[in-house]
Amino acid sequence: MLLPPLNVFLVIAALLFSIGVYGVLSRRNAIAVLMGVELILNAANINLVSFARFTDPSRLAGHSFAVFVITIAAAEAAVGLAIIIALYRNFKHINVDDVNFMRW
């Protein structure tokens, strides 16, 4: 099987990361922000697995890191959604621009 070179994976991961960052920074909807975070995490996962495959495929350190990240991401999503639901209950919206009560 023809394996594309490492740069291809890294470029895809970088694109994915950039999209995620854009989503996190520019979306007003909290759920969209959370989705951006998922993208960033997954971009990192691609990097982890790619580097594992192209350096020493016999060792599974990169893979197991990716599995950890997925697990943490699931937990993070759960906590994040719970915060969003709490926000909604209090403000009747989830527009992050208007949620600035943590300043000062």
Partner: protein
């Protein structure tokens, strides 16, 4: 058993003292009562005094007891009592007159709103006076001396609603205090040399540790106390004013006992004045002549005797005549002591106490019966007040020195001693005797004979409680002289056991009696037969009359010499205090305030300024920096990513 009785003599002053305390405690609850307590106290003292004297007869000293009162360094200060002849004589005089006056006072003071308090004061006085006569140390003497002064003050000012009584009380206290200063200095001087207050020990050191000249100076200082207390020239001015007190008080304190305390003091310290077996030491020189302590005493006494008798002639207030008479007679006693007549002076004190107390109580009875004190408003009282009249005449004859009444014997003895010392004193004595007889006959004729001059006066005889003491004292005034005649020299044996009794000096007795009779005749001539009118006498020497009427201007002189400089000194001291001492204090205050103001400015603008500046800078910084904190997570993330990008840029460079 009786022989040990004098050891209990210390109880004599304690009885009236207990009465004083008891009346003070009960007085308010028993208005109009209290005389029974006082009578019991003084009566007990009287009985014990008589028994003590009886037990002491034939012994020079029957008791001398001391207790250590305090220890100064290693010098014990002991106080105690001593029963000798002098104390015995004084015990008889004081307890007898005090008892009579206590009884009489119940009638005289009847109905007074402060009746119990009067008896309390009277008991206090009696206690202090009895303590004075048995004291054997100067310090106890001084304490009792001040206590009698205090009770005198309280009793002169007893009717303190009257401004004149109030002023008289103050005057008496302050004037006698002038003399007391001398007493205190004398006491200290003696203690300085002998380290003891006990009189017998002091006497024992004369010529040894206590040089003769120092003894003489101390004697003169002690005599200053006597001058104040016994109203001698020039401090006699308080006694006539002291007549503002109730009349029984005048009789007891200001005639018979307290004013005699000065004479008693001189007699008690007589060895200082005239050391036994020596001629008195010269203490200073005046115009080339050596002055001795007895000479000072005799001169003061003679001046007082003559001056007071002269002033007494022109007084119209019945009590003031008697007051000047008292001053004059005290002058006699002092002169007697000064000329070496130790027994004569004390003998005159003894007889004078009885007849002068009698005269004062008689005057009190007259005042009680008429409500007047001015003899010009009286007259014809002979018929209305027979008991007072008879007893008063007895007192007058005794005072004038008519044979055989008591005054004759004692005055005669003083005159004899004066002649022995220097004829000048004898002449003063005879002239004084003439004046005494004259003013007393004037007093009697104006009061008891003639017709009533004021028809609004309705005289009545005093109650029995007042006349009874008059009769007792009249009897004593008549016969007391027989205790010291040349044939029955009991007083001489009591006071000077070793010496032989004096013989009757025919010339002295003759001249003295002649002066007395001439005085009485002169008085009768002017005020009974009215052969010579008083106005004629005044016209003979108007300047003398004016001077005498103004009491020889001695009050004014004392005012100018003593009181004015005192005021000046006080005002100066007040000025110094107000402007210099207070000024300094105020200046310190002003400086402190000024400095504080400066400090306040420094505090507000510099210290507080720095603190505030720190706060302001912090706040300004916070205000600026907080703008970064928007509370929006996305802003923060922007910064995070921007930072990360920046770091990457720097890293890849």
């Amino acid at each position: 058993m009786l022989a040990h009785l004098p050891n209990w003599a210390f109880l004599i002053p304690l009885f009236p003292l207990a009465a004083f305390a008891l009346i003070l405690a009960l007085g308010r609850r028993a208005p109009g009562q209290g005389h029974w307590i006082a009578w019991t106290g003084v009566g007990s003292s009287f009985v014990l005094s008589i028994l003590t004297v009886a037990a002491s007869l034939g012994r020079e000293v029957s008791a001398d007891r001391n207790v250590v009162w305090a220890v100064l360094g290693d010098v014990p200060i002991s106080v105690g009592f001593r029963i000798d002849g002098l104390a015995c004589l004084m015990l008889i005089v004081v307890s007898t007159v005090a008892l009579m006056v206590h009884i009489y006072s119940a009638g005289y003071m009847h109905g007074d709103p402060r009746y119990p308090r009067y008896f309390a004061y009277l008991s206090l006085f009696t206690a202090a006076m009895l303590g004075l006569v048995i004291a054997n140390s100067l310090i106890l003497l001084l304490v009792c001396w001040e206590l009698v002064g205090l009770s005198s003050y309280l009793l002169i000012g007893f009717w303190f609603e009257r401004p004149s009584a109030m002023r008289a009380a103050k005057k008496a206290f302050v004037v006698t205090r002038l003399g007391d200063m001398g007493f205190l200095f004398g006491t200290v001087l003696l203690f300085w040399y002998t380290h003891t207050f006990n009189l017998q020990q002091v006497f024992g050191k004369i010529g040894g540790e206590l040089p003769m000249a120092v003894a003489g100076i101390a004697a003169v200082l002690l005599f200053c106390g006597a001058v104040g207390k016994s109203a001698q020239f020039p401090l006699h001015v308080w006694l006539p004013d002291a007549m503002e007190g109730p009349t029984p008080v005048s009789a007891l304190i200001h005639a018979a006992t307290m004013v005699a305390a000065g004479v008693y003091l001189v007699a008690r310290t007589y060895p200082l004045f005239w050391p036994e077996g020596h001629y008195p030491p010269v203490i200073f020189h005046l115009f080339g002549a050596g002055i001795t302590a007895p000479l000072v005493v005799a001169t003061i006494g003679a001046v007082t005797a003559l001056m007071a008798a002269m002033i007494g002639v022109v007084q119209n207030d019945i009590k003031r005549v008697l007051a000047y008479s008292t001053v004059s007679q005290l002058g006699y006693m002092v002169m007697g002591l000064g000329v070496g007549g130790y027994v004569a002076g004390m003998f005159h004190l003894f007889t004078h106490a009885f007849f002068k107390a009698l005269l004062f109580l008689g005057a009190g009875s007259v005042i009680h019966g008429t409500g007047r004190q001015d003899i010009m408003q009286m007259g014809g009282l002979r018929r209305h007040m027979p008991a007072t009249f008879v007893t008063f005449i007895v007192g007058t004859l005794a005072l004038a020195g008519v044979f055989p009444f008591s005054g004759f014997w004692s005055k005669d003895e003083i005159l004899a001693d004066a002649l022995h010392f220097h004829p000048a004193f004898f002449i003063v004595g005879v002239v004084g005797a003439f004046l005494t007889a004259f003013y007393m006959s004037r007093l009697c004729f104006l009061t008891f004979w003639g017709e009533p001059r004021d028809h609004e006066v309705h005289p009545h005889e005093s109650p029995r409680v007042m006349t009874w003491p008059l009769w007792v004292l009249a009897a004593l005034a008549a016969v007391a002289g027989f205790a010291g005649t040349p044939w029955t020299p009991w007083v001489h044996r009591l006071l000077a056991p070793g010496e032989h009794a004096p013989a009757l000096h025919p010339m002295v007795a003759g001249l003295g009696s002649a002066a007395a009779l001439a005085g009485i005749l002169g008085g009768a001539l002017v005020y009974y037969w009215r052969a010579v009118s008083p106005a004629t006498l005044i016209r003979m020497a108007p300047w003398l009359y004016t001077a005498l009427k103004n009491k020889l201007y001695i009050d004014e002189m004392l005012w100018a010499i003593l009181v004015r400089p005192m005021f000046f000194a006080s005002n100066t001291a007040s000025w110094v205090d107000r402007w210099i001492v207070d000024g300094f204090v105020n200046a310190v205050g002003y400086l402190t305030v000024l400095f504080s103001r400066l400090q306040r400015l420094v505090d507000i603008w510099i210290v507080d300024g720095i603190v505030n500046a720190v706060g302001w800078v912090t706040k300004a910084a916070g205000d600026t920096i907080r703008l970064v904190q928007t509370g929006r997570v996305q802003n923060y993330l922007w910064i995070v990513f921007a930072g990360a990008a920046l770091l990457m840029l720097i890293g890849t460079r």
